[in-house]
Symmetry: C2
Subunit: 84 residues, 2 copies
């Protein structure tokens, strides 16, 4: 749970998740939506990947990232428990 929550604690990463909710994207496309450098975005993506919030697969020259909705259920469960 720890990696999951700290992955979610950064607003750039939460915005990446919102982008991927709309559609799958490659790393460059994702980076184009932010002002920070590509290495920084790559780093954020690796944190999201380690938290299992996204997964990626290679397609030709590019790497496509997708939202992993399954992991979000763990967060949802925690919040729902507290709200009861």
């Amino acid at each position: 749970m720890d990696k999951l929550w700290s992955a979610l604690s950064d607003s750039t990463r939460r915005n990446i998740l919102l982008l991927l909710h709309e559609k799958d994207m490659n790393a460059g496309e994702i980076a184009d939506n932010f002002k920070i450098s590509k290495p920084s975005i790559s780093h954020h993506l690796s944190i999201l990947r380690e938290a299992h919030l996204v997964y990626s697969h290679k397609e030709g020259q590019t790497i496509i990232y997708s939202l992993n909705k399954t992991t979000l259920r763990d967060v949802s469960r925690f919040i729902t428990l507290l709200m009861k």
Copy 2:
């Protein structure tokens, strides 16, 4: 949203929320549930308070903390949106 998510990113703070879900507690009682010092717990409580995840009121000599479930709805909304 930023203070909210970073408040949730620390496991001690999430455990404080779980404790307060069971019942309201004063700061000392909360601290007794952890190995870290009382000043550290006090610091965590102030972060939770600033994020509006808990509120507090004085009762005689002690300060009673309670879970603020309303704020959790914002988190829940974000997660629910992503899960759709």
